[in-house]
Subunit: 758 residues, 2 copies
């Protein structure tokens, strides 16, 4: 029994190698499920299962019947109205990011909510336009449209051209939206929503910061009211900046002033909202207020004609007819659409997770994907653009008391009212006001620059991920940048394990504790034993590094020692053949007229022989390689007799590393260094056995449970061999190994102790 | 002291937490080199260092002065001549893969050898054309030339067009070669030759097999003498096959018969060479023999005119003038050139490594890169194409006795003789013969299909890498396929660690051994203690998985328990406030007229409160959550009081996972489950401290050296609290907690044991 005796750790048990342990404690037979079993289970069908799947496809069927009208309806209505107003403004503003007329932003704020109401599992998120996503769609629109417009040539008149470009932009945006919706739907149906786990926090932070910079740059032209030609990735951001600054003198001052005022006011009031959060009943809806004021002023003072500012303009009442997305655009934009699909889902899912955790209800990633996918297809078909959720808008929906997606539905009703009835009121609103409002949402994202310092202190790799993601997303653009960042991020996982901090361990405190010997002053290292620890998996990219570190730790290359010993053996054999080596009970007497030390040419077979195990069966004695050998035969002496590899943190080996490890072990074993591997799982050994790792040289008896087991085993073996040696001393014949050479050292006798074979 | 006592593992020492261990055994202060130190050391300069660098840049300066003319020259000459003949044939054959006239293959076999003689560190490899690399260049040539030819239009006459296309092809091949040489040179100068470690054995095997298939398909048109239009990646291989099979009836029978005969003979003789390797003095030079015969027969029977076969044709004697590579082509082919540079280097380096290991001399990866880079620039400038080394040719050079690159130089002399003097003799040689000879080299590569089965048995991931690499390289083409495969391969490293096999451990054999409890029948699990092991690093992509597995193992969600307890606490407080709960020495008597169990609406702050630690300081008693609580308050009971996380195989945490882990620990600690982490390195804890992982709840005293230390600590603590409880029993006041409720259960008294606060 295990008992706590004072504060003492007292253990007395046999020394266990993995094999002896396995003999004493039988393993239970476990049936491991095969791939086939999983497949069967997955594909099995029952009416219950079918019902469950049907229910999970329409989450509304579970929550709507349980709706508590008395308690929830009022707060849902309040929340719906507030969210709806925010949605209208954001829709208008983010449409500018897509490079399409603002009124289309209203569609993007209306349609997705309807489908999400039926299909979504989150009760609190407000689906619809999201700046980063709008920006990503905008990038595609710019690229495809610009490539088309150059092909179009300058034949038609400028005005006609403009409206054609606009139409084309809308078409591209809608097609991209539909395609990303299809991708989301597919991912959801195939149940591979887990891909978002590859977007780490550092990556998302770096990416959204870069997106904020992109938004900022793209809104400059509206704030300054400049005509900036479309640029496509990569490096588009720099090209846009160049365009802006080369024509900065053409700035429309009225727009600049308006937008700066709006920006300042919005920032200040948002700061107040933030600071007096607990005291205010609801946050001040500053964006709404500013929009109303700005629209009024613009209309009253007739800004459009007086200062030539750009206004929202013609708001066609009602909806556009649905369109068929363009398959050509699909082909051009498959990569971007994939990025949009992933980013949209990642953002929506992470926001939804926060609320699901807070209010303790389950959400389903794959169902979310399906919901977003259908929403996007639906939205795209009605000429909207890709949506996800804006953190700020979801915050409004939740903080004003939204309980379910009924609030979302009501917010859609508000958007609907604007679309079909009062949209014309917004016609005099300046575009620069919308741009400023869009920028007002970026503060949080831009503040993320502070992450760099924090991450640098915590983890260099995470910091690197942030910085590289940011750079990629800025330079390559959002779509390609995301792909590059994910690839880079996965590479860091490889980096982290690629250069493990291998260490030599020694006993600390004379018990069963082994620590890095460099860290402690008073350590005990058993003589001739090296304990080497590798703290990471070993695979193709670090097996070479592992080997180098191991050789550094032991201080010699076993292969070279083996070759030297085999060469020496050849010489000794030659001496014996030539009769220069005589076996006497007292020793070998070697009388030669000159030992030629020419570097003989070895043919291929001979070179291969040097790598073979040392074979001394034909010699009537064994050679003690650590003793002084006769003249001209010098072999580096090694004091190492046992090597313990601590593999407790080696979570896997791949085939390349297995082969490499095996050859290293072989080299050590061939120069009579016993190798022990400790701390591995049972499965690890099973796998090695399956891969034919073991043979006559590398045996499966090298595994021990702990370092201490192995050390005790080694000490015991030593003890035993010493005592055996002592007890059998009467039988022992000690030979001397004497060589007479010519030259300066002629007649000198070297006494070499040679162990006899028993 | 550690001593082996029989076969016994006997240890008696204090129980150590990491902190107590650290107090007893002081760590030595170590100066860790900073990045700056490394930089300083790297950039320091001395005349010695300069000399060493200069020498390492020209390895010839070290080996040529040590050249042993007597012993080496003869075998170098023999080897040089044999290798030279092979090089001529391979040069001609591989030029077909590049889609340029065969004579240009001779340049590719001549120039690189010259520079490698001065710059290379390997003594045995024969640099020059390599089929996979030729194929890769050929793919680029096809793509760039075809895109140009469509732009060119069909205006000029067919013949003129042909020669123009040929010129263009040569230009593209030369430019790609120069660019990949520049890339290699840069990589070498920047000392980043280590990138080749990312090409694992499985990847190279899959890639070369795919390349062999590509070679096979591309040679079909020469063997059947068909005109196949150029197709560019991806899917080019299928398009080529389609072209071939749609016009199969146009096959030139003479070419088909010749090539089949050649193929059969070459295969048979190679098999003989292989089987009687040890008995034959030199392998039969079957390719040379076949070429001579085929040339003779073709000339003698005038195949060209009689059967309309395609022959090598015009071999312009001498060299072409050097050309300036096209910068336009550079821009188009940067990705492909990178692939060519990497593959070329990887192949040459791996072959060179084999020989350097065999003959025990050092090679330098970065110098090899420089040597290959310069060679390729030089070759490209003289209208050759990218080279590396062919395994078969290097095999000839080594096996015929080549000792140094002098043999290489002599092989170049043979090529030179063919170029300037006797090249015209090869004019009647059929192209189909060359194609058949190129195919003859592929057997080894194609045999690698057997790898799939072997890898599947050994390691599923490695098998997956092989198959995916093969598919990528076949479908996407060699350049893009290589990039995709490397990315996929890195992803597998992530996969391997992403779904760790977490397990619950238990004591086996009642000593200090803990194993997966599912594997052993007779295990001991201390009551209320769960030992959980995660056998892989934890990072952004698997922290969610880790958490899920942990919750599965303990059987409940701590956050939910916490919330339920906090809700219950609210109710108890309410009862107390309403005076329905009376504290008496015997217990709480609760008389209420009805306990409303309405799901009250909680506002935001209240919801957040539920996640806070349980605060009972204002109550005059402590609540034993595992006892039955009064009516209407039901809390899941948990028997767990301690959780031990075995992190001995967790080699790193990233920032995301650290945050996740911290919140998990917090949740457990808040429901009064003690958490212990065992088996970590000291550095691991230092890093957590640096990342502000610890606070008042999650303390740094949770670390113990081993599982057994933690278990003993837990048992001791239990013992202590029990004994303390017993000894202080006289002071203890046991309260009862009685509630009178209305309704059916009115007047029923629930007795709830409540621990008093001491």
């Amino acid at each position: 029994m295990i008992e706590a005796i004072g504060n003492q750790y007292v253990v007395a048990r046999p020394v266990y190698s993995t094999n002896t342990f396995g003999e004493e404690f039988k393993k239970t037979q476990r049936h491991h499920k095969t791939f086939l079993d999983h497949l069967k289970r997955c594909c099995s069908c029952s009416s219950q299962k079918a019902k469950k799947i049907a229910l999970s496809l329409f989450p509304i069927a579970s929550w709507l019947p349980a709706y508590k009208i008395k308690e929830w309806l009022l707060s849902d209505i309040v929340s719906g109205i507030s969210t709806g107003l925010v949605a209208v403004l954001q829709g208008l503003a983010f449409a500018l990011l897509v490079n399409i007329p603002p009124s289309y932003g209203l569609y993007a704020a209306f349609f997705p909510v309807i489908t999400y109401f039926f299909l979504g599992t989150s009760r609190h998120i407000s689906v619809g336009p999201f700046p980063v996503l709008s920006m990503m769609v905008g990038v595609v629109v710019t690229r495809v449209a610009s490539s088309d417009s150059t092909a179009l040539g300058q034949s038609s008149s400028s005005l006609e051209n403009d409206s054609m470009i606009e139409e084309k932009n809308i078409m591209v945006a809608a097609s991209v939206t539909v395609l990303s919706g299809i991708i989301q739907l597919l991912l959801g149906v195939l149940q591979i929503g887990f891909v978002v786990i590859y977007l780490s926090e550092s990556l998302i932070s770096g990416f959204t910061t870069a997106a904020a910079i992109h938004v900022l740059v793209s809104q400059l032209k509206f704030m300054l009211q400049l005509t900036v030609p479309a640029h496509s990735d990569p490096f588009s951001i720099f090209k846009v900046l160049e365009s802006v600054f080369t024509q900065i003198q053409k700035t429309n001052i009225a727009d600049l002033v308006t937008s700066v005022i709006i920006l300042v006011v919005v920032f200040v009031v948002k700061e107040i909202n933030q600071r007096y959060r607990s005291k205010l009943p609801v946050p001040i809806p500053i964006e709404l207020i500013m929009t109303v004021i700005a629209t009024g002023v613009s209309y009253g003072c007739n800004f459009e004609e007086r200062f030539g500012v750009a206004v929202v303009g013609n708001m066609s009442l009602g909806f556009q007819p649905p369109i068929t997305p363009s398959v050509e655009v699909f082909q051009d934009t498959i990569g971007d659409s994939f990025g949009i699909a992933i980013v949209g889902f990642a953002v929506a899912f992470s926001v939804a997770s926060v609320y699901s955790l807070k209010y303790d209800y389950p959400i389903d990633g794959n169902q979310e994907l399906i919901a977003l996918g259908v929403s996007n297809i639906f939205t795209g078909a009605f000429q909207g653009f890709a949506g996800s959720t804006a953190l700020s808008r979801s915050g409004v929906q939740e903080s004003t008391g939204g309980k379910t997606q009924v609030a979302g539905l009501l917010s859609a009703v508000i958007v609907l009212i604007v679309i079909v009835a009062i949209g014309f009121l917004l016609q005099p609103l300046q575009k620069s006001v919308l741009a400023a409002l869009a920028l007002g949402n970026l503060k949080g994202m831009l503040m993320q620059f502070a992450e760099i310092g924090r991450l640098w202190k915590k983890d260099k790799y995470d910091c690197l991920i942030w910085v590289m993601t940011f750079i990629f997303a800025i330079v390559l653009g959002l779509g390609l940048g995301l792909a590059a960042s994910v690839a880079f991020q996965l590479l860091t996982i490889v980096f982290r394990t690629q250069f493990p901090k291998c260490s030599t361990l020694a006993n600390v405190g004379r018990s069963n504790i082994y620590k890095d010997k460099k860290n402690y002053a008073d350590v005990y290292e058993p003589e001739g034993v090296k304990i080497f620890r590798c703290p990471s998996p070993i695979y193709f990219a670090n097996i070479g590094f592992f080997k180098q570190k191991l050789l550094d730790a032991v201080g010699f290359n076993p292969l070279r020692i083996l070759r030297k010993r085999n060469k020496a053996l050849k010489k000794i054999r030659k001496l014996q053949k030539q009769g220069l080596l005589q076996v006497t009970p007292k020793g070998f007497i070697c009388t030669s007229d000159g030992l030629q030390d020419s570097e003989e040419e070895l043919d291929n077979n001979q070179i291969e022989e040097l790598d073979q195990p040392i074979n001394t069966t034909d010699l009537p004695f064994e050679i003690d390689w650590n003793a002084d050998l006769p003249l001209n035969i010098s072999i580096p002496k090694i004091s190492l007799h046992s090597l313990i590899l601590d593999f407790s943190a080696v979570s896997f080996l791949d085939v390349s590393s297995m082969r490499g490890l095996r050859s290293i072990l072989q080299e050590f074993i061939r120069i009579k260094v016993d190798v022990y591997i400790v701390g591995t799982d049972d499965e690890f050994i099973d796998k090695l056995a399956r891969c034919e790792f073991f043979d006559e040289e590398v045996k499966d008896s090298i595994f021990f449970l702990t370092i201490h087991d192995a050390v005790l085993h080694i000490l015991m073996k030593k003890d035993y061999s010493t005592s055996k040696f002592n007890s059998s001393q009467e039988k022992e014949m000690k030979f001397d190994f004497t060589i007479n050479t010519n030259g300066g050292l002629r007649n000198r006798e070297c006494q070499v102790p040679i162990e006899t074979k028993f």
